[in-house]
């Protein structure tokens, strides 16, 4: 199979955005990977290897081979990401590729890994498509997705804002935006909300005033910002500037919702996030033992708490290593088999299942809210609710995930 490790080492490829708008997020992912490599090689405090329910990992590398890694820059462009993934596979002999900070990149690299016959462990990618219509047998996603965000958010929104609401969606005009809008719409509409309008905003937009301004006039009383990264920072800032936070509509307080939160965005938007609901995959303030262990070893190493991107990447690295140990081989198809249907715990999200049908992890989802009185520059979100996994589970043939097929695993040449 492709890049079978023959010597005493095994090479993993970390493909993260190092330049471009998501560079900071990429840097955090890279930190997590480096930490994971340390722990796998038995250095440091071992981190979540100690709390992980599977005990296959022994801190002596993977299958006794020392873990080495190469890095690449995705530039958050599918072309560049594929180029750097290919170079890691062709030049450096990486047997697994992981990372990424956007769905477009994840889908593109996943398809590449499928062709080349290596395993792809997706990093931060939230679009339904990654494990929906663009799923691939060699690709796995630990991160949650748009559907789960919708399913987790809807009850909280209902509890806080009632079921008689009129929502106005602003949606970034690309795949992730579409799936997120669809997910949030269908779950909020199911509980009785009405969608007044959904407007697509260009991805390159920097000033959202002309999209925000008409919101109040439309008769809506909730604004859903299906934006991520810089888009979300700007649209949220604009929305607050235009007084939406203080406004009244239909006799209720006007509200804003941000389906997918990240620390990156919360920091960029500053005070604007206070009190605004959204969802995340994980947060460092979780009190379970695994999370606390991870925060401690990451914080000791780098001096600040890890982001959810760092968490998912760290976990993916561990999950891959564990699967190889359990399979007893680096052979992709063996790894796929080991991961499919794998149930585990102790990695910060509670009991989790890697579903065989679509290679998506099912676990609890966090609903968070911008903190009113942050105590530090990392303490920006507070957990409102931990939505149990059952509430966010969907059948593999759910319409939002329709089309596409896993195909069969590819061992490559």
């Amino acid at each position: 199979y492709t890049n079978e490790p023959t010597g005493s080492t095994v090479t993993l490829g970390f493909n993260v955005p190092q330049t471009g708008p998501y560079a900071d997020e990429g840097a955090d992912e890279l930190r997590a990977y480096e930490l994971a490599v340390k722990h796998l090689n038995g250095e440091g405090d071992g981190g979540m290897i100690n709390t992980f329910s599977s005990k296959a990992l022994k801190g002596n590398g993977i299958l006794g081979k020392k873990v080495e890694y190469v890095t690449g820059d995705t530039q958050t462009k599918s072309d560049a990401a594929r180029a750097s993934a290919r170079s890691m596979i062709e030049k450096d002999g990486a047997v697994m590729i992981t990372g990424g900070s956007s769905s477009g990149v994840a889908v593109a690299v996943q398809a590449l890994c499928q062709e080349a016959g290596v395993i792809f462990m997706a990093g931060l990618t939230h679009s339904n498509d990654t494990t929906g219509k663009d799923k691939r047998a060699n690709g796995f996603r630990h991160f949650f997705n748009s559907y789960m965000s919708g399913a987790a958010l809807a009850p909280v929104l209902e509890a806080n804002y009632g079921s008689d609401r009129k929502a106005y969606h602003l949606t970034a005009d690309y795949n992730w935006g579409y799936t997120t809008e669809e997910a949030i719409r269908s779950s909020t509409e199911a509980m009785g909300w009405e969608t007044v309008a959904a407007v697509k905003t260009p991805l390159t937009q920097t000033d959202f005033s002309s999209y925000i301004a008409p919101v109040l006039q439309s008769g809506a009383d909730v604004l859903v910002l299906n934006h991520y990264g810089g888009n979300m920072v700007n649209s949220l800032t604009n929305a607050v500037q235009f007084g939406l936070r203080e406004a009244q509509a239909n006799g209720k307080n006007f509200e804003i919702v941000v389906p997918l939160y990240s620390r990156l965005m919360a920091r960029g938007a500053g005070d604007a996030v206070k009190g605004i609901f959204g969802s995340t995959n994980w947060h460092w303030s979780l009190q379970d033992e695994a999370s606390q262990t991870f925060v401690r070893s990451f914080g000791t190493e780098y001096g600040f708490p890890p982001s959810q991107a760092a968490h998912t990447c760290y976990v993916q690295a561990l999950l891959y290593a564990d699967a190889v140990e359990r399979a007893g081989s680096f052979e992709p198809c063996a790894v796929v088999e080991a991961l499919e249907g794998f149930e585990f715990d102790g990695l910060g999200n509670g009991p989790t299942l890697y579903r065989a049908e679509d290679h998506q992890c099912f676990k609890d989802v966090l609903v968070v809210r911008g903190k009113e009185n942050p105590t530090s520059e990392f303490d920006l979100l507070e957990i409102v609710e931990i939505t149990p996994v059952d509430q966010v589970t969907y059948p593999p043939d759910h319409p939002q995930f329709a089309g596409g097929a896993l195909g069969s695993c590819n061992n490559g040449a």
Partner: protein
Amino acid sequence: MDAIILQILNGLDKGSAYALIALGLTLIFGTLGVVNFAHGALFMIGAFCAVLLSRILSMSYTTIDETRTDFLGNPMQVNVPYAYDFFGEAAGQTIIEWAVPLAILFAIPIMILIGVAMERGLIKHFYKRPHADQILVTFGLAIVLQEIIKYYFGANPIPTPAPPAFTGSFDFGALLGFDANQILYPYWRLVYFIFAAIIIGAVFAFLQFTTFGMVVRAGMADRETVGLLGINIDKRFTIMFGLAAAVAGLAGVMYGPIYSPNYHMGMDFLVLSFVVVVVGGMGSLPGAVAAGFLLGILESFASMREVINIIPGINQIIIYLVAIIILLARPRGLMGRKGVMED
């Protein structure tokens, strides 16, 4: 009707940003004839002047607060700005909050310095070189400036809020007799618009009521001959560049509260500002300003839901579409002069 007023208002402030950037660019590109890909970077540096000033003002020392713990369970370190000690807590806080307007004063000398240094050290040698070379060198410079900023400030946007006095918004609707809350307009955007108008006016006055503009235009058309007339054109070009840098920088400083500064914001605006300058007509300041407002307002209209529903995607391409139509219909843009940068 109110929707239209709203979009005009929105167009105005977007337009004032475009106009200010285009104004600075036109001084360099339309007047000096240098294709300056680093202009966006100057805008970005302006915005970071505000960030820097706010960092300086809120410089602080740390004390340990034993009563609280940080995320690792250690005693919490608390930062106390020096400003609190100097001016008292309330006044210190106010000064920190007013960082953005204060940054105007801070940015002017910095930007002029950067502009002058850039012209003397680099651009000076490129007036006679082909545009392609200018693009390569200024693009290189833009990348370098960008990376330096990224190195120190990170890739994330950094929120730079307006002073509390300017948060909140102004109810235009009430003023015009519509229902309350129908036409809200943030105070800071109003400030930005007025600020832009003042800068534009000042630059116009400077160039119109002095011979400076004419000399620089002549110098661009034919440096050698202007030199033969005893005029030190190099000095004037340097001044012009400093001025343009200052205009770009000020546009950036004041834009911070509208758009959290990040290291690549310059590139985001770059292409658009070139389009604005060319649509306005090379070398024409009024053209640049008019095109800035025109495109700003059109963009606002194109992003109305009603419009998008009729022509999907129009909001994505409106500026380019309009630019193409204008350039085909009017060979030299809205107010271009004949012969400027035509071949």
